[in-house]
Amino acid sequence: MAHSAVPTTAPAAISPISLKELAPWALFVGVLMLVLLYLVGAEQGATAVFQGDTIHEWMHDGRHLLGFPCH
């Protein structure tokens, strides 16, 4: 990273983060966050990866109040 040594008083236009740099983060974090949302919102509801209904029951109130279809 190239740091500019010259302090600017007024913030200049922000340089965008290049897509090439962002892509691996988008993939990794994106998938991780969607898995998290799935666990909170839909696991042991519409589909199930784990057996039983403990996750469903544990997340029950959160699902209803966060707007997910629950049961």
Partner: protein, 249 residues
């Protein structure tokens, strides 16, 4: 303005998301739980109760630790995704600074991920909703969110294309109208769901739905403000240096 790694912004996004999750939990606990309890009371008084099946998680746990887990994880996940969108939007949406960009991203995501899907497939309290249709309802809900996000992205691209010819203001109006028309079409074509049992109090459904919307507003507002603050400190070195370095002479 120096170049920044997405890692810094993503971590801060998840932290701001955690704070947003706390805000969501507080609103959900203080305003939402009474409605959940009221709906469960009606459910249990009704004809088709669940019988005497063992509840693996007690109501007291569901309403506290369970609700806390759900809202905090949801906040972190939403924060991570919103930070990704922010990483893309930063410097690409005109001359907005980090804080304004964070608020724009929060508002835009609230609109597309929550409000637009909510108007077609609103939240429901316990006792509303047939367990046999949960797969269909979940699929339609996710589909509606995906459609809303895709159509919003399409509208943004359309606005961008039209801006040189029409000017920013008019291009934004045309793009917004195109979004509204496309969403209206999606609303009309997708099947409706109404599984409110006969005799279930309409006021309770209304209050529950408004409460869930309030939870989302609290979540996104907290995220937008907290992340804007954290992102600005990461992106604008002067914002912290001004406080950290006191003139000694």
């Amino acid at each position: 303005m120096n170049q920044i790694s997405p890692r810094v912004l993503l971590i801060r996004g998840m932290l701001a998301g955690l704070a947003a999750g706390v805000a969501a939990f507080l609103v959900a606990y203080l305003l939402g739980e009474s409605k959940v309890d009221a709906a469960i009371a009606i459910e249990e008084a009704g004809a088709h109760d669940h019988g005497d099946e063992m509840a693996p998680v007690s109501r007291a746990l569901q309403a506290t630790a369970g609700l806390g887990t759900g809202t905090l994880l949801y906040g972190v996940a939403i924060g991570g995704i919103a930070a990704l969108v922010f990483c893309y939007a930063l410097g690409r949406v005109g001359r907005f600074g980090p804080r304004a960009t964070a608020l724009l991203v929060s508002g835009g995501l609230f609109l597309t991920v929550n409000l637009v899907p909510f108007l077609k497939y609103p939240s429901n309290p316990p006792a509303v909703g047939d367990p046999d249709t949960v797969v269909q309802r979940t699929t339609l809900f996710v589909l509606m969110i995906a459609l809303s996000v895709l159509l919003a992205a399409g509208a943004l691209i359309l606005g961008r294309r039209l801006a040189p010819g029409l000017g920013n203001w008019n291009a934004s109006i045309v793009a917004s109208l195109a979004f509204v028309a496309a969403i209206g079409l999606a609303y009309a074509l997708l099947p409706g769901i109404n599984e409110v049992p006969k005799g279930f109090p309409a006021a309770l459904v209304w209050e529950f739905r408004i409460t869930t919307l309030t939870i989302q507003v609290a979540l996104w507002a907290t995220f937008g403000l907290a992340f804007g603050y954290l992102a600005e400190r990461a992106l604008v070195p002067g914002a912290t240096a001004k406080k950290a370095v006191q003139p000694t002479g």
